[in-house]
């Protein structure tokens, strides 16, 4: 796990009850670790973990977008199938997407057939422009188009402010809309897609690789990094139940280690969201105003998540607006 050291995730990943997954990562990731010195990577570049045969993932650090990191903060990667490649997440910027595109090229000559746009957030969609030359199918939730209409340009301008026009990327729309569910066949493996109800956002798309049994919940699952709420708190708790019922034992979260045990990771997430729900409800019931709630709700979770101080107050603000109308 030495590769994680520079990313500050070791302690937190270790604290999460997912030690079996951690061992597995060490095993699958071994190839990448020993390549490290030879490739002489720059400090800001990342290793890819082969989390299952033919499935490569790059861990995003628990950080905010900055000029130094190209907004490369989400877990992104690709699946190599018999007939072609599926990109699980595009990256957080054109530069991040180009990095991933180059990494794919080092490992396979197969065509890039699909690029998943798992939801509207910039760290997941702005790498898409790097794949336009491959002419893949861009796959998104049925609500993604509308969400990109509302927010895409706003996000792009913010990203340009941070990274500059050359590195930011452009808004790429899905060419395949998933309304409820869909399947993608890569020849030797089938991927089952699910369009979720409003949860983390209103356009969360998850993917189950029926070959490896790995679930890709995207940002419906945060591990170690505090979840950010931008859809519906109650909806997210519902969708957690749906993810549990999908029959996967291991998952690739949107943020956190590249492969984890699903059940304990979902339990941690549900614990945070339930605490957020219950303590926000209590604040509303006691007429504790929003400005007090943001500093008092879910404080018991503070030491359990990276970036807690950056996001918890915002999450409380979101939750409060949702629950004050109950």
């Amino acid at each position: 796990m030495a590769a994680w050291a520079s990313q500050g995730g070791v302690g937190r990943a270790g604290a999460i009850p997912a030690s079996a997954a951690t061992r597995r990562q060490a095993l699958f990731g071994g190839l990448c670790l020993c390549c490290l010195p030879r490739l002489g990577r720059a400090a800001e570049s990342f290793a890819l973990d082969e989390v299952a045969p033919g499935i490569f993932l790059r861990r995003g650090p628990d950080a905010e977008a900055s000029p130094d990191n190209n907004d490369a903060i989400a877990n992104i990667g690709f699946i190599v199938g018999r007939d072609g490649v599926l990109v699980t997440e595009s990256g957080g910027s054109l530069a991040d997407g180009q990095w991933l595109r180059a990494e794919i090229g080092k490992r396979t000559d197969k065509p890039i057939k699909y690029v998943m746009l798992t939801h509207v957030h910039p760290d997941h969609v702005f790498g898409a422009a790097a794949f336009q030359g491959d002419n893949p199918i861009f796959v998104g939730h049925g609500n993604l188009r509308g969400a990109l209409d509302a927010r895409g340009e706003f996000y792009r301008r913010r990203l340009v402010e941070i990274l500059g026009e050359g590195r930011a990327g452009s808004v790429v729309y899905p060419t395949m809309d998933v309304k409820e569910s869909a399947e993608i066949d890569l020849g030797d493996r089938t991927l089952r897609l699910t369009a979720h109800g409003t949860a983390h956002t209103n356009c969360d798309l998850s993917m189950l690789d029926t070959g490896s049994g790995l679930l890709f919940p995207a940002d419906l699952l945060f591990v170690g990094r505090i979840p950010s709420l931008d859809g519906s708190l109650l909806g997210w708790l519902n969708e957690i139940e749906r993810l549990k019922a999908m029959g996967a034992t291991d998952a690739v979260p949107g943020h956190g280690p590249t492969r984890v045990k699903l059940a304990p990771a979902l339990a941690d997430l549900a614990r945070y969201l339930t605490t957020l729900r219950d303590e926000t409800r209590a604040a509303v019931a006691e007429s504790r105003p929003i400005e007090t709630a943001v500093t008092t709700v879910a404080q018991g979770e503070k030491d359990k998540w990276a970036l807690f101080d950056t996001y918890n107050g915002r999450n409380v603000t979101q939750a409060y607006q949702e629950l004050e109308w109950e």
Binding site: A150, F154, N202, P289, R314, T317, W325
Partner: protein, 270 residues
């Protein structure tokens, strides 16, 4: 400054402003901020003198806002028995003049709370108009950005759901203390700066422009509002405890919407 003056009107359509957002902000010097406030004052108050008194209003606002599109503001008025009106101004917002409260005989204007949008690092000003017609200002600096242009939800339709619904919560108001009331109004308060990328159009500004709260036949307050008030407005205020009858809220928006709701105060008999 010309752009700023254009932006000041409470009734001006914000859509007209949206393509040229005011680029004031974090790097402005104190002199630039002071000059801007002088211009704003002249536009709103004309030649009337505005006295500086930092003790007149206690402004509670986060120094650094967690969410620029929902910044909670608390205004505590020192001399509440001598208050006729209260102005709240967010200097660097595209439309700085955020709210103007005019208090009636049923008001207890000791404390007002509301939620606003803040588009930039800015001074905010509370200006009290006393019963004898004096103007007194207090300022505070707030760090936030993007609150006016930030997309509010992921679809306009969703944001419009239940438009005009209202709720009101009351504290007990026992022992002759003012009744504290919190009014919640479902309304997107579109700022006119939220862009739809496909049509390259801005969702037209649609905001609560007038709101009257009465207790029985007495006015609590009249509010002139603007695009700087956050979506789903929430306003916390005080009502004198000795009034009679229901509390009525009548609101209009700038596109002809009109809503009225009545609320019964908790029984004051005990």
């Amino acid at each position: 400054m010309k752009r700023l003056l254009l932006a000041l009107s409470l009734t001006l359509s914000a859509a007209a402003l949206a393509p040229v957002p005011v680029r004031a902000g974090a790097t402005d010097s104190d002199e630039e901020r002071a000059a801007r406030w002088t211009e704003i004052k002249k536009t709103i108050f004309g030649d009337r003198a505005v006295e500086v008194n930092d003790a007149a209003v206690k402004i509670d606002a986060p120094v650094r806002a967690l969410d620029a599109s929902l910044v909670p503001i608390g205004l505590t008025l020192a001399d509440k028995d001598n208050v006729k009106g209260l102005y709240f101004i967010i200097d660097d917002n595209p439309s700085p003049y955020a709210a103007h409260f005019t208090f009636g005989p049923a008001a207890d204007p000791g404390e007002i709370k509301m939620r606003v949008r803040v588009n930039n690092y800015t001074n905010v000003h509370a200006v009290v108009e006393t019963k004898d017609g004096k103007l007194v200002e207090t300022a505070k600096f707030v760090k936030a950005s993007g609150g006016c242009s930030a997309p509010m939800g992921m679809s306009d339709e969703e944001a419009m759901k239940g438009m005009g619904d209202m709720r009101m919560k009351f504290s007990d108001g026992q022992g002759g203390k003012p009744v504290e009331a919190t009014l919640m109004v479902r309304h997107p308060n579109f700022s006119g700066m939220q862009m739809n990328q496909v049509t390259r159009d801005y969702t037209p500004a649609r905001y609560v422009d007038k709101l009257d709260v009465t207790h029985g036949d007495q006015l609590v307050f009249h509010l002139d509002g603007d695009i700087s008030i956050a979506s789903n407005p929430v306003i916390h205020f005080g009502i004198k405890p000795d009034g009679k009858g229901p509390v009525t809220v009548a609101a209009t928006d700038n596109q002809g919407g009109r809503w009225e709701h009545k609320f019964e105060l908790p029984s004051a008999s005990n």
